[in-house]
């Protein structure tokens, strides 16, 4: 176990360092003059020179890459072009909103998806099972931005039940929560379907196992068997995908934040791209990747903890 943790941790660090290297050199890897892309073709030479110097693009490439990596490791992601504020501070303001959004979506997906999957698996081939099956495919395939737009349209505009834009104030938790419902649901829909499907499949497999038959033979209650013994075993593959899920939610958050006009990391990057403010984009991408790698690491480790049969040196397909 210890060796496995060490190995996974090492892999994560390598991936993060490579990401840093990639983001640092991306400006140079891509053909064309980055300053021209950033400022547009009609920028004055003086402005171009200023931006070039500010981004450090006038220095030799290895120096630039090295500086970005060293500064990045110290938490310095450069400065915003427009306001001169440190990028890390802007991200610090935006990130809590995104994390809250992603976590509440994940929570919502688990709260709805897992019971649906359990019900389907314990009542196979009933009409509810079939309906759940159909609904989950539909949920999985519906792009989150389409879900977001339709929810906004129905509940925010047509029925006017829930606030359509902004986040409300964190000092007023009830208001903040009301603002969170639509975006979190939009983001959760894919994962509700996905979890329902996954739990159903793995639970069906577990329910066929000998120890479940024995438990029934001993006369244990259905609920106890399903939720305590069977689900505990069936949930393992689900935990493994939650890491990937967190990444998808972080990626999908950008659509939700744009549609519902919420502040957040995705929105910050979106605005930065429109303003051609590359340092913010780069910093935002880096932070997202860090979170994603961390979530995956956490999921992998808990997966390993839940199911010790998975060997440390296992070939990863």
């Amino acid at each position: 176990m210890f060796l496995y943790v060490l190995k996974r941790l090492g892999m994560s660090i390598v991936v993060l360092l490579l990401s840093l290297l990639l983001l640092a050199s991306m400006v140079h890897l891509i053909p064309g003059d980055p300053v021209k892309t950033i400022l547009g073709p009609r920028a004055s030479p003086a402005l171009s020179e200023r931006v070039r110097a500010e981004m450090g693009l006038d220095k030799p490439i290895p120096v630039q890459v090295g500086e970005f990596i060293i500064n990045g490791l110290q938490g310095d992601l450069g400065r915003d072009f427009a306001t001169g504020q440190p990028v890390i501070r802007l991200i610090g303001f935006a990130l809590p909103h995104t994390i809250l959004l992603a976590l509440s979506s994940l929570g919502l997906a688990i709260l709805i998806g897992v019971p649906l999957g359990v019900y389907s698996a314990t009542h196979p081939n009933t009409w509810i099972d079939r309906l759940t099956g159909l609904l989950s495919v539909w949920c999985i395939t519906l792009p989150s931005y389409v879900a977001g737009l339709l929810l906004l349209l129905i509940f925010g505009v047509a029925l006017n039940w829930l606030p359509a834009i902004g986040t409300g104030q964190l000092s007023d938790p009830a208001d903040y929560l009301r603002h969170l419902i639509l975006p979190a649901t939009a983001l959760a829909i894919t994962w509700i379907g996905y979890l329902a499907r996954l739990v159903r499949a793995s639970l069906l497999e577990v329910l066929g196992a000998n120890f479940i038959r024995t438990a029934f033979a001993y006369g244990l209650g259905e609920r106890l068997i399903y939720y305590k013994y069977a689900l505990k075993n069936a949930i393992v593959p689900t935990v493994a995908v939650l890491g990937v899920g967190m990444g998808n939610l972080l990626g999908g958050a950008i659509f939700t934040e744009v549609i519902f006009t919420r502040p957040g990391l995705g929105r910050l990057m979106y605005d930065a791209i429109s303003d051609r403010n590359y340092p913010i984009v780069r910093g935002g991408v880096l932070v997202t990747v860090m979170l994603f790698v961390f979530a995956n690491l956490l999921a992998d480790l808990s997966y390993h903890y839940l199911d010790p049969r998975i060997q440390a040196g296992e070939e990863r397909g």
């Binding site: 792009p143 737009l149 990937v244 659509f255 995956n296």
Partner: protein, 293 residues
């Protein structure tokens, strides 16, 4: 794994496969959607009631009517016609992107699986790094520098989707590499090139094709999503994402462009997914029930 039998069976019994696909409701529904989409893309000039850019300024942002079945957008363009022409953008981005990713993934995966050693390690680490980016975020990072265009969206999707193929191919090659029929060929003196191209390749095509079909809806969604954010295809190209984004700006005046573009996207991804999942279950029962995140 299950390769040799399936590859042969699929080739010989294309028609039988189609017949069993149609017999399943999900497969039939998927097939109908895919067929409708192809018809719309190929025959847009005949099927669409108006031109993609044809304006009817007097009737802007109108609700569905006999004249404009799905209403009009903010420039008075027919939404139905824009959506029909949009199939060309959706498929025109998704098909080359997925094919490109499959091809590059195939080459990388075969090299990694067959050669092993440091080649395998390098390929794995690079693929791991790419996969540590959520697709949208990777696209964002690249498009911020490349600038928005259809070609760049295709490039971004290729980069994001390649690792999936490389991994599947690598795993398949590893599974087949030491199977008796390959060992026998090697003992008979077959070269590496012959072994990989004539003996291993045909056996990994079936899972590759399934993955390809399953990736198409994701690629369509990615293109439309990036175009919605203004990072992909630019207006006035009738991408579904562009229609969504233009409709979003006028949402409170007229919801129809958003509603119908959303429905087009939703039913396309649903149709393609049902089609490819049924196909997968038929081609490879062992994979039934599995799904990629």
């Amino acid at each position: 794994m299950n390769g040799p039998v399936i590859a042969g069976r699929a080739r010989r019994n294309g028609l039988a496969l189609l017949r069993s696909l149609v017999r399943k409701p999900a497969g039939l529904f998927g097939l109908l959607i895919v067929a409708a989409l192809l018809t719309a893309a190929l025959g847009a000039d005949w099927v669409a009631p108006y031109g993609e850019a044809q304006q009817d300024i007097a009737h802007r942002l109108e609700a569905p009517s006999i004249r404009h079945l799905l209403g009009t957008d903010h420039l008075g363009r027919d939404v139905l016609s824009r959506l029909i022409y949009g199939t060309r953008v959706a498929l025109g981005a998704a098909v080359p992107a997925v094919l490109g990713a499959a091809l590059i993934g195939l080459v990388l995966g075969m090299l990694a699986g067959y050669l092993g050693g440091w080649v395998d390690n390098v390929v794995l680490v690079v693929m791991d790094t790419i996969q540590s980016y959520p697709t949208v975020i990777l696209a964002l990072a690249l498009l911020a520098l490349l600038g928005p265009s259809l070609q760049n969206v295709i490039v971004v999707i290729v980069v994001g989707f390649t690792p999936g193929y490389a991994r599947v191919v690598r795993a398949q090659v590893l599974a087949i590499k030491h199977s008796p029929f390959v060992e026998v060929e090697r003992a008979l003196g077959a070269s590496d090139l012959r072994l990989t191209l004539i003996h291993i390749l045909p056996n990994i095509l079936a899972p590759l094709l399934i993955l390809l079909a399953m990736d198409l809806p994701s690629a369509i969604t990615t293109e439309a999503g990036l175009s919605f954010l203004g990072l992909g295809v630019r207006p006035p190209t009738p991408s579904w994402g562009v229609t969504l984004s233009e409709g979003f700006a006028k949402l409170r005046t007229s919801p129809w462009p958003v509603v119908f573009a959303g429905l087009a996207l939703g039913s396309t991804t649903l149709g393609f997914t049902l089609f490819s999942e049924t196909l997968r279950d038929l081609l490879d029962p062992k994979l039934a029930g599995t799904r990629r995140a």
